[in-house]
Amino acid sequence: MLELQNISFQVSDEKSARKEIIKDISLTLEDNQFIAITGPNGGGKSTLAKLIMGIEQPTSGKLLFNGTDITHMSITERARLGISFAFQQPVRFKGIKVRDLITLAAGNKLSTAGACEYLSKVGLCARDYINRDVDGSLSGGELKRIEIATIIARNTPLSVFDEPEAGIDLWSFNNLIKVFEELHDTSNNSLIIISHQERILNIADEIVVIAGGTVQSRGRRKDILPGLLNGTDSCRFYKEGGL
């Protein structure tokens, strides 16, 4: 279980003015729960995801993971406790191969067949990709799918995906939906997916709407989704967000 207790995050701009990106957010994610976080661009969604992984440190508040206080833990410690993070913009490396990255993610030596299992889930043929460098020679969509494969390979109790649909073509997107459904149905693991896509929001147990650094609403998809789609006042940004 993940608990965010009164999390705030501020940054200073050039004039030393403090800007509050996240304002006193409290959230709980149960085991095996799948929540989708949505909201307008610049509302604080990605920052929240980074705070959970430890890429950013909160200005105040507490994070608990299965009862352990992880607020001041490093990224590595959180990763080893069982939190995974899929980047919105996958990182490129010179000289690190797809096989290396998936092996590091899986945490043990992988056969080609083993790597194939993870890559085929994201619609890539291992034979074509396994010995390629994770660099600019791969397209944005390919990098994104490899990024998602690393999270599948890690198979941790909590996985956080930051806009997994960005850069993914339609065919892969159908697969992606299946990946998330499978991750949710076949394990006891929890998922947090930041998304603007209606189809991802559709398969989540709950939807959290974040705007202006706060939780605007949270609820079962059947309660939240119609409001988002109908473009009620509280959610009018959804029209801008592409739904």
């Binding site: 992984m53 590595t76 980047f87 990182v91 490396f93 000289g95 191969k97």
Partner: protein, 305 residues
């Protein structure tokens, strides 16, 4: 050979025992083993230190190992090795130098390798440099490589210097005839107070000749590196040089690429990039459970792989 020399031999040539095929092993200034084949002869020079390696025309799928090891502190040597590769050959040449210096005097090996590669021949040349020993004496290597590529010949040159060499000045020059091709891949890592200088001077004289010089370098601690790559396009040709370097700690790297087109049909490109490891690369690997130090090592190893 003693254990230190055997270890050096393994590091620079990957050899656990005497290799098959032709070889000449030089230890502390003397030849300690030599073998020739029906197609490859090795002859000691009479006027100076060094050997002539003579590869008969049409020699295919054979290899020559000529590693050098120095374990005697204070030894300084200058060696001339000439490779005469006949036409239509396909051979692998493994050179390399390992110095173990546990004394307080500098040990130094200067090797001048000249390649005369015949028409239509393909040569793969691998050269590794390695230093060990905890003496205050420096381990110094200054390799010079001179290459003459005849029509439609091809030299693939791989050089690696990852550990333990205090000072190195590497110079490679090449002339290419019609249709000849040169591909150089250099991997270099310096640490401590080491200094490494590497320079290339390539003359693309022949029509349809091409050269690709690729250097990947990592400088850590207080080490310094200088990369110079000069490519002259004197005909219809293609030349490309690339220096890609990671800088860490207090290290310094300079890259000076130079391309000159003396022909309207010369196509020349140079690329040089120096920078520290991208923070996001370290963060990504940390999210997979690696510590910051492990992530850094993984990135550097991958970069130099």
């Amino acid at each position: 050979m003693d254990e230190i020399q055997k270890n050096l031999l393994e590091q620079v040539a990957g050899l656990h025992e005497m290799p098959s095929g032709a070889f000449n092993i030089r230890a502390n200034g003397q030849s300690v083993g030599r073998s020739t084949t029906a197609h490859i002869d090795i002859v000691t020079k009479e006027d100076k230190q060094g050997i002539d390696i003579i590869i008969k025309p049409g020699t295919k799928k054979e290899s020559v190992h000529i590693p050098v090891v120095l374990s005697q502190s204070g030894l300084t040597e200058m060696v001339y090795n000439d490779f005469h590769v006949g036409e239509d050959c396909d051979v692998t040449i493994v050179a390399g130098c390992g110095i173990h210096n546990s004394g307080d005097k500098d040990s130094r090996h200067d090797g001048i390798h000249a390649f005369y590669i015949g028409k239509n021949s393909h040569v793969k040349y691998v050269e590794k440099h390695y230093g060990s020993g905890d003496g205050s004496g420096e381990r110094i290597m200054n390799p010079e490589t001179i290459v003459h590529l005849a029509e439609n010949s091809f030299l693939e040159m791989e050089t690696v210097q990852i550990k333990g060499v205090d000072s190195t000045k590497r110079s490679t020059s090449a002339t290419l005839a019609d249709g000849a091709k040169l591909v150089v891949t250099e991997k270099l890592m310096t640490h401590g107070k080491q200094y490494a200088e590497t320079s290339f001077n390539v003359d693309l004289n022949g029509e349809g000749s091409s050269a690709n010089v690729i250097s990947r370098a990592v400088a850590r601690d207080d080490s310094r590196q200088l990369f110079l790559a000069k490519i002259n396009g004197n005909n219809k040709c293609a030349g490309h040089s690339e220096c890609d370097a990671i800088i860490m700690d207090h290290a310094k790297i300079s890259a000076i690429p130079e391309i000159t087109a003396n022909s309207l049909d010369a196509e020349l490109i140079h690329e040089a990039a120096i920078g520290k490891i991208a923070g996001e690369q370290i963060i990504k690997l940390m999210t997979l459970g690696l510590t910051e130090a492990e992530a850094e090592a993984q990135i550097v190893n991958g970069f130099l792989k």
